[in-house]
């Protein structure tokens, strides 16, 4: 392994750069053939790791990204990563092969398709190999984005866009929650590296954030892996092209959540909450998905719900596998089965679900419809597709001699073993788990039969089909055939598969229990003996399932009992509508567009915050000693000022108001005189004169005052706010005056005004010398104001002139 293998994660996305050029330059060869090289090369490359990892090796390869923040692309290759990497590249290769025959090279925008697909491949490889939580999150969001693009591939269709948006909303929601969880985790474990977090797990357990981190990370995993109640995006994502559904929504992306749970099991397994949540939600999803799969009429929708259900199954097994951390000794052996079963079923599911999606795509492609009510009797026309579908469905139903049977047996074993566990109230509730699992298995059986037999057997309904059905070309069949063969092969050599792929993955999942893949001494056997509970349960599943399948027409009406408005989809839709209209209404409620309203907000906040701060800090103080004595001039000027202000407020005409305002200005100038500020008094006098002149200039163009009419309405609210602002400012002024914490610096100016600045007028010297910088910008402001006034008036005139010309 000379070249660092972290680079290989980026191979697909780098290849994606040249795809559009290939698509434009080489018209007569399907672009998919070039793309096919990438996953095949990667598959072969990753396959070379298997032997070493089997011997307990792990590989780490690091590509620094932001070293100062300890963030890097670290690829960590252990049993779990290699298994997922092989699934991603292997099924990726098959899906690309399938898509070459599925997508037409003339009609479809293949450049887009393969770019998105390759982007997705990089993202998935990144997720499963990342050791750094931040780069894990980066790749996680990249899968959301590329999956969004792939679902919306036929973007001219409404349903595609809806499905893409829905999956985006839900998975990105989960992704962000997960980011929160990962950040908390890195705070607790003091590292971004997952390996180090696992090593530090003892310090993480019992930390304040521990529970929160569990919930957040599980939210991420549950949304991505379509667990209850977040599964609703998956059926809508079926608007994507079938290769996408087969790849993303059966084999890879939806398993990212499972990967996450498996990866973090060593960190969280000691938590009761973790076991309950993962197992409980998993089982609920298993039951829910299998129950509602029978209701569907669209082939891909059946498969979508079945995927949801199978993901729930694996999730519950992952939860059960965490139990192994709590038991020791003799008992431990039986709980270790769960981890093995989870990984084993994960492999099986990827195989048979991939093939089933491909068959659904073939049926759609060759008949023109996926509606199961219009299909039937295709067995004799499409024998190969039927065979593949049959193998896939039987494996899904858990019947021998297919891989699914073995994993279902292991599943039942694990669920039964939960009864033995006597921590966390499991001894009282333990019996519920196998019962739910058993019922869900029955429904799984029913929908598997429903899928294959309603499509391929029964009466032919050729008149209802848009196309005349015929068998698919060999190229399209090749991928599902390969997958179907694998499904059968797994049944006959389960222990080889277990040894090569499952055991290393189990070791990665349960570090601390095992140290070497050879330690996992679990043997899969197809045969448990006549009286083994697993065998009896399977018999029961077959018997009840067959009965239910045969009487399906009678009880399928049960599904109509649930009204449309009580479904989770309606909940999602109304949430979206509420978000849009509710926010709209909210912003329309407070953004009135009236400046008066905004002033009310601003003043209210100023009053609340300042008086609040004043009283919370206990900062209010009145120190009578610091007050100067009041003289008669001051008192008189104050009275004049107050009279003038009242005149402004209650004036009935504008002219009165303007003149009263002038009165206010001049009395302020008087105050400046009284308080010995000659410069200010001078300036105030002149500026008041000039501004009154300006007011008078503008006065005659203004409309007459409406609110200053005869019946003047006093708005109580405005009065209150104005009074409150006044009182607040008075209080602050009093407090500020009464508590001078540091002496004024004015003494310095007095001392140095002549020696340093050669001046006698402190005010002017401060203005032009000590603080000339402020003055510079004040005159700039004045200049800008003049230019503003000038341009506003002149531009308005020129526009008027222009409109005159045009008339």
């Amino acid at each position: 392994m000379s070249l660092e293998f972290v680079w290989f994660i980026f191979l697909p996305i780098l290849a994606a750069i040249i795809v559009p050029f290939l698509f434009r330059a080489i018209k007569n060869i399907h672009t998919g053939w070039f793309v096919l090289i990438v996953p095949v090369v990667l598959f072969i490359y990753y396959a070379r790791f298997v032997k070493g990892i089997l011997n307990g090796e792990v590989h780490i390869s690091e590509l620094p990204w932001i070293p100062s923040l300890d963030i890097s692309f670290t690829a960590y290759m252990d049993g779990l990563s290699i298994l997922f990497s092989l699934l991603i590249t292997g099924i990726g290769a098959l899906v690309v092969l399938y898509s070459i025959f599925y997508l037409d090279k003339q009609r479809e925008k293949l450049n887009n398709f393969y770019v998105y697909l390759l982007m997705f491949m990089t993202a998935m490889l990144g997720i499963v190999q990342s050791d750094n939580t931040i780069s894990l999150y980066l790749f996680w969001e990249l899968t959301s984005i590329s999956s969004f693009l792939l679902i919306g591939y036929w973007f001219t269709r409404d349903r595609s866009r809806f499905g893409a948006l829905k999956s985006m909303m839900i998975t990105v929601f989960g992704g962000l929650m997960m980011l929160g969880g990962l950040v908390l985790l890195s705070i607790m474990g003091d590292s971004y590296s997952i390996r180090e977090l696992i090593a530090n797990s003892s310090s993480i357990v019992g930390h304040d954030y521990f529970t929160l981190a569990i919930v957040l990370i599980l939210l991420g995993a549950f949304t991505k892996s379509a667990q209850f109640p977040f599964y609703i995006w998956l059926p809508d994502a079926m608007e994507a092209p079938t290769p996408v559904s087969a790849y993303l929504h059966s084999a890879t992306m939806v398993k990212a959540g499972l990967y996450l749970v498996a990866r973090f099991t060593p960190v969280f397994a000691t938590s009761e909450l973790w076991i309950w949540l993962v197992t409980g939600i998993g089982l609920l999803t298993l039951f829910w998905g299998s129950f509602f799969a029978v209701k569907q009429t669209d082939l891909k929708a059946i498969l979508a719900f079945s995927t949801v259900s199978q993901l729930g199954l694996i999730m519950s097994l992952l939860g059960a596998s965490a139990v192994a951390y709590h038991v020791t000794g003799e008992q431990a052996a039986i709980f270790k089965v769960a981890a093995f079963a989870a990984i084993f079923h994960l492999i099986n599911h990827a195989m048979f679900k991939g093939s089933l999606f491909m068959v659904a795509g073939i049926v759609d492609h060759e008949t023109g419809t996926r509606d199961i009510r219009k299909l039937g009797g295709l067995m004799s026309i499409m024998p190969v597709s039927f065979t593949v579908a049959f193998i896939g469905s039987m494996s899904m139903a858990g019947l021998p001699p297919f891989g699914g049977f073995l994993s279902k047996e292991l599943f039942l074993t694990s669920m039964l073993s939960l009864r033995e566990f006597n921590l966390f109230n499991f001894d009282t509730w333990g019996i519920v788990f196998p019962v739910i699992a058993w019922i869900a298995s029955i429904f799984t059986f029913v929908y598997s039969f429903y899928f294959v037999f309603k499509t391929f057997t029964g009466k032919r309904k050729d008149h209802e089909l848009p196309k005349k059905p015929h068998e698919a070309p060999l190229g399209m069949l090749l991928s599902p055939i390969i997958l179907a063969i694998t499904v059968v092969v797994i049944f006959f050599i389960p222990n080889m598969v277990g040894k090569a792929f499952v055991n290393p993955a189990v070791v990665a999942m349960q570090t601390g229990i095992y140290t070497h893949p050879g330690d996992v001494g679990i043997q899969v056997s197809a045969w448990h003996g006549w009286l083994a509970p697993e065998f009896l349960m399977t018999l029961g599943v077959i018997a009840v399932g067959a009965l239910l399948f045969l009487t399906m027409a009678r009880w399928q009406k049960l599904y109509d009992i649930q009204p449309q408005y009580l479904t989770l989809n309606t909940l999602y839709d109304s949430l979206m509508i509420f978000g849009e209209t509710g926010m709209n209404r909210l912003s329309r409620f407070y953004m009135t567009g009236l400046i008066r309203t905004y002033f009310i907000y601003m003043f209210t906040f100023i009053v609340t915050i300042t008086t609040g701060a004043l009283f919370i800090q206990d900062a209010f103080a009145v120190d009578m000693n610091s007050f100067s004595p009041v003289n008669a001039y001051g008192l008189m000027t104050a009275i004049i000022l107050i009279i003038a202000i009242c005149m402004v407020l209650f004036a009935k005409t504008r002219l009165t108001a303007i003149i009263a305002l002038g009165g206010v200005g001049y009395s302020v100038a008087l105050f400046f005189v009284i308080f010995k500020a000659p410069d200010l008094a001078l300036t105030q006098l002149v500026i008041e004169t000039v501004s009154v002149a300006l007011f008078l200039l503008a006065f005659r163009y203004l409309p007459s005052l409406k609110s200053h009419g005869e019946t003047k309405k006093i708005r109580v609210g405005n009065l209150l706010i104005a009074a409150a602002v006044g009182v607040t400012m008075t209080l602050i002024a009093l407090s500020a005056h009464s508590q001078k914490l540091i002496p004024s610096i004015s003494q310095y100016y007095k001392d140095t005004v002549f020696t340093e600045a050669a001046g006698g007028n402190i005010v002017n010297v401060i203005l032009v010398d000590y603080r000339g910088f402020d003055t510079l910008f004040e005159i700039a402001v004045l200049g800008i104001a003049a230019i503003g006034v000038y341009s506003m008036i002149k531009l308005r005139l020129s526009r008027k002139e222009k409109s005159d010309e045009s008339e």
Binding site: L682, V690, L694, G760, N761, I779, G783, A786
Partner: protein
């Protein structure tokens, strides 16, 4: 327009110069006595406003044929140039210098670079206010 404003116009002709001289006085006195560029500028404006009141806009524009926007620009350039000039002597922006110099007509006079800065202020104030009044008044 204004038919019978003889008294006002005659008085204005005298008073204008008195106000103008007062503004100049106040401008120069600013460093030691109350006053300075700002008040001086405003007083000059007040003088011009008086002209505007007594005569009409066109007459005033003919009498004072300046573009007052350019006056604003000159004032700003003066103020900033004065500040930037300190860089030549390797001292911080807006550092003033002063000293006593012998001038031909005035004899020994105390000169201060703050005066140049204040002249900038003066010009900006005059330019801005007159521009505003002319634009608003000119619209009618």
């Amino acid at each position: 327009m204004k038919a019978n404003d003889v008294i006002l116009q005659t008085a204005t002709k005298v008073v204008f110069f008195i106000i103008f001289l007062f503004s100049i006085h106040i401008f120069f006195a600013g460093h030691f006595a109350p006053g300075g560029g700002f008040v001086g500028g405003l007083l000059t404006t007040a003088a011009i406003v008086l002209l505007l009141l007594a005569f009409d806009l066109k007459t005033v524009q003919q009498a004072l044929p300046f573009n007052f926007m350019i006056v604003v620009a000159i004032g700003l350039v003066l103020a900033i140039g004065m500040g930037a000039g300190s860089f030549v002597f390797n001292v911080p922006f807006l550092t003033h210098a002063f000293g006593d110099f012998y001038l031909p007509l005035f004899g020994v006079t105390s000169l201060h670079t703050a005066m140049i800065f204040d002249a900038g202020v003066y010009l900006v104030v005059v330019g801005s206010t007159v521009t505003m009044i002319q634009s608003i008044g000119g619209e009618s």
